[in-house]
């Protein structure tokens, strides 16, 4: 869930009411939000960087509020205030409107050239007029843009937003792509011009921008937007030009959004522009955005932003049945209206017409409307009831067997270990004196550390690591684990399967083969398998590179090999940084189901 950080006093001022922390927490809960933390810039600095750095920092109270991941419309102070005011029925939900230029002039135009096709083929645009910034509104504007970049824009990989002071540039604008060496401009917060190639190396050390470089770094052409005089607006998704930067004095804003995915950018644009408008509607009377035209390489012309309102019709009965309440259609319509979904009873049975605004791109099904009705009704007001679903429980056989064996292994004096299912290649191969290719191991493509290169093919490495971590404990150490290993298996839809294994180790000054052998006998007794060659179990000398030569046996049950037991090879012992002899048993328990 994204977190929005707002100044408490500003928030209360905008809401026109003061709350205690408890009251505001309660209001958040009712509205489906969570007041995560009450803090201040100073407190945050003290926590993150220590007391010295925090000296002189602001101790204005900040509320950190968790917003559901789908509610982009609540990601800034202004949006949050709007949502809460509507929820409390102090305001009506705004209607957003796209308008033509006021003076009857031509709309701004963004022309996309075909060169963009290989790198970032989509762009849309819009214009905001007659903005009045204050320092706080300016900060909120920038913060919202950043929040959207981090969330819906997927750290700019899907969409990048550029905002420009329209009065410093002149259309029509051209969105094209050029080799990095041919792009040259003065970027934001720099004092001179750089080529795109120079910028990429300059930003390598920039703590913020370096995270976005990979998006276009290896492309032959970089995306770039010019105005009619050849001034660079931005090089999306990395940086804007310095020339058109927004300031406190900016009155008119040109917004461009570029993207790799048309669907996303379309829907996104709706949200971003409208949200920006929501931002400013506290001091704007009109919820208006000026249209802009986008011309595609094939000559097609589209007008943006699309501010599409959609109407869904559903019955009061549907809401009542899904939520488990019994409200009239009128009262449900009122609940929905409080959630910024203007609703009216249609007069036809208990049907309700619900208008979905462009800000609520998350509402894609009647069940989303149902959820909002439930939030507005108050989860705590819904009467709890037990479903009448009658069922008989069954345990999964392999888990039932595992539970029984675990109990008995502890009764036999062995202690249960819980070890990771992921490990390094070395753990299951080199350290066990096996070749990685013979392990049938499943390999992970993107581990962050070498500790998670493969899924384990044996429980033994985990147990040996557990012993190594507990070398100070008095001898003997007797450990076991019954859990899954993962093996490649072509017959499965995903090409791999789990296998439930039992593994136990005995670590002492003497190898204790007889102890581990005795444990096998006990396990077999529990499984009701008697010693014997045919229908019973027996062990027979075997060679296995993990074990000491002549000290390893293969275990057969009903004629089928189920695993090994023996004294570990001294190299295995040393490779796990152990010093004492150790014997082990490793068997597959699935044949006993």
């Amino acid at each position: 869930m994204p977190t929005v950080s707002v100044k408490r006093d500003l928030l209360f001022e905008a809401l026109g009411q003061k709350y205690t922390d408890e009251e505001f927490d309660e209001l958040c809960f009712e509205f489906g939000l969570e007041l995560d933390e009450i803090t201040s810039e100073k407190e945050i600095l003290i926590r993150e960087q220590g007391g010295e750095k925090a000296e002189g920092a602001s101790d204005v109270v900040l509320y950190k509020i968790d917003v559901p991941a789908n509610r982009y419309d609540l990601l800034c102070l202004e949006g949050l205030v709007r949502g809460l005011q509507v929820f409390k029925e102090k305001l009506e939900a705004p209607r957003y409107k796209r308008v033509s230029p006021a003076d009857g002039g031509e709309p701004q135009r963004l022309v996309i050239t075909e060169e963009t096709a290989s790198v970032r083929p989509h762009a849309v645009a819009a214009v905001l007029r007659n903005i009045t910034f204050t320092q706080e509104r300016y900060e909120s504007f920038i913060e919202l843009q950043e929040k959207l970049h981090q969330n819906i824009c997927r750290k700019r990989t899907l969409v990048a937003i550029g905002t420009h002071d329209l009065d410093t540039i002149s259309g029509p604008f051209t969105y094209t792509a050029k080799p990095p060496g041919e792009i040259r401009f003065k970027p934001l917060s720099q004092s001179r011009e750089y080529t795109a190639a120079e910028l990429m190396s300059l930003y390598k050390t920039d703590s913020h921008l370096r995270h976005y470089l990979h998006i276009i770094e290896n492309e032959p052409l970089y995306p770039i937007i010019y105005d009619s005089n050849g001034i660079v607006l931005s090089m999306p998704p990395i940086i804007n030009g310095d020339h058109s930067k927004i300031s406190l004095n900016t009155k008119n804003i040109f917004i461009e959004c570029t993207a790799t995915d048309l669907t996303k950018v379309n829907r996104f644009t709706l949200i971003i522009t409208v949200c920006l408008f929501v931002c400013f509607n506290t001091f704007f009377i009109l919820f208006r955005v000026e249209e802009a035209e986008v011309v595609y390489p094939d000559g097609r012309l589209s007008v943006y932003p699309e501010l599409a309102y959609r109407t869904e019709t559903l019955s009061g009965d549907f809401i009542n049945k899904r939520v488990g309440i019994n409200e009239s259609a009128e009262s449900i319509a009122q609940l929905l209206t409080r959630m910024c979904l203007r609703s009216e009873v249609s007069g036809e049975g208990d049907l309700i017409q619900v208008e979905i605004p462009p800000t609520r791109a998350d509402v894609i099904h009647a069940c989303d409307i149902m959820e909002d009705a439930a939030i507005a009704y108050g989860f705590n007001n819904i009467v709890r009831s037990t479903p009448r679903t009658y069922t008989v429980a069954n345990q999964l056989p392999v888990n039932k067997l595992t539970e029984l064996l675990r109990q008995d292994l502890t009764a036999a004096g062995f202690t249960e270990a819980l070890t990771f299912a992921l490990c390094s290649e070395e753990d299951i191969a080199d350290k066990l004196r096996k070749n990685i290719t013979e392990t049938r191991a499943v390999h992970i493509s993107n581990p962050k550390t070498a500790d998670f290169q493969v899924a384990r093919t044996s429980l033994l490495p985990g147990l040996l690591k557990t012993i190594a971590a507990n070398r100070k404990m008095p001898l003997p150490l007797k450990l076991f684990e019954i859990s899954d290993v993962v093996l490649k298996d072509e017959t499965k839809d995903v090409g791999a399967r789990n296998n439930r294994r039992l593994c136990a180790v005995y670590y002492n000054k003497s190898p204790g083969f007889e102890v581990i052998h005795g444990l096998l006998d006990r396990v077999m007794q529990l499984l009701d398998v008697k010693p014997g060659r045919n229908q019973g179990y027996h062990i027979q000398a075997a060679e296995d590179s993990t074990f000491f030569p002549g000290r390893c046996a293969e275990i057969f049950s009903c004629g089928k090999s189920i695993g090994h037991l023996g004294v570990l090879h001294p190299d295995v012992i040393s490779r796990f940084e152990l010093t004492m002899p150790c014997s082990a048993i490793d068997i597959d328990i699935e044949p006993f189901l």
Binding site: R154, L158, D261, T263, K264, K321, V323, G324, I364, H365, C367, A374, F379, V383, R384, S385, T386, P387, T389, T391, V392, A393, N394, Q395, L396, V398, N399, R406, L409, T410, A412, G413, T415, E416, A417, L418, F420, A421, L422, V442, H443, I444, S445, N446, P447, K448, D451, F452, A455, D484, V486, K488, K492, D493, V494, G495, A496, R497, N498, R500
Partner: protein, 442 residues
Amino acid sequence: MADNGLLESVLRLVEKVDGGTDSQDVAADLGVDHQVIVGAVKSLQALGEVISAEQKSSRHWELTGEGREIAEQGSHEARVFNAIPDEGLPQNQLMKMPSGKVGFSKAMSNKWIRLDKAHEGGPRVFKTVEAIEDTVRDKLQLVQKGQSAKLEDKEKNELKKRKLLSEVTVKSYWITKGSSFSTTITKQETELTPEMIASGSWKEKKFKPYNFEAMGVAPDCGHLHPLMKVRTQFRQIFLEMGFTEMPTNNFIESSFWNFDSLFQPQQHPARDQHDTFFISDPALAHEFPQDYLERVKKVHSEGGYGSQGYKYDWKIEEAQKNLLRTHTTAVSARMLYKLAQQKFTPVKYFSIDRVFRNETLDATHLAEFHQIEGVVADYGLTLGNLMGILHQFFTKLGLKKWVEVGNSGVFRPEMLLPMGLPEGVSVIAWGLSLERYVDTHT
């Protein structure tokens, strides 16, 4: 252990004195080494409350080996003096004496003797005084008698410098009568033996009291892992509530079942390389229920079942990617799909098993943890039902407040209807992390 004779001698001495005695005095009285008495004190203590002994330490002066020799035979200089006859002694002969070197120079500085270098037949040593007083010896003998207090500190330090005296710390006991003091020794038995039972001799024996303050010996047994014990507890609760266990023994899952079937769009952040472990071998899943896959593709890209869909280009290549499942809900999806392929009967399912997230290990992040999940599918389930069942679940767990423990909700129609479940069927579900629960509630 010291023999009973000695122990009884000690006890007789202790009996004679009021207010107790020092073990060093006891050693002096009995004429034995102090260490022997210390052993005797320990033996007596082991018999119970016969005596009480308090340890103390004292410092005193003691002769060194050389000091003892001097106390017995006289100082080196005195020995040199006494060895010289009236007619004198050749220096080389004197130097051959054991005390020659040291004694010669000391006696010279005391002006007891003189050296005639020019004497005929080589240098010769003569007495210069008639008789001498061997004060060094006298002082050492005082110390030997335990009268070191008669010497001044300066004198003692001088002798210490000559390595004839040393100051030692002696640990001794102050012995007083115990509550069951007696001058005769009755040996206490430590444990009852089969022989005592057979012979009845236990009736006459005294038994050494147990120390009930000590800890017992740990039993020779194994233990279950604490986290797995809690897993068993949760499993039990689900079984008591009539939930059937799902087959979650498949850590490797396809993106299709882990994400797409759950109506998770292909651009969702959870599907990022940073959050999910993808598999390089076997990289792709190769088998899907084809009809169902088409319906999933359609609901994502075009919508349907009353949904707008996500309106993007759904790609099979994304769905095929194998991964380490990020939640057990992937298994719930498989189970619900399977359920939809037969005539619908209501079900309650649960699972508790490992899930994986691509994290770097630290104190608050684990790359794998156990997810606890409960699922109920039936006609007409409501949010009120979900809250009712959660209430029952957490009441069984003994939790009154269950906010923030986990997540719960109703599965979306875009997930259920493509599977083929009947229109009126709702599926409610909840999940929590076993590790997080244990961290915060135990």
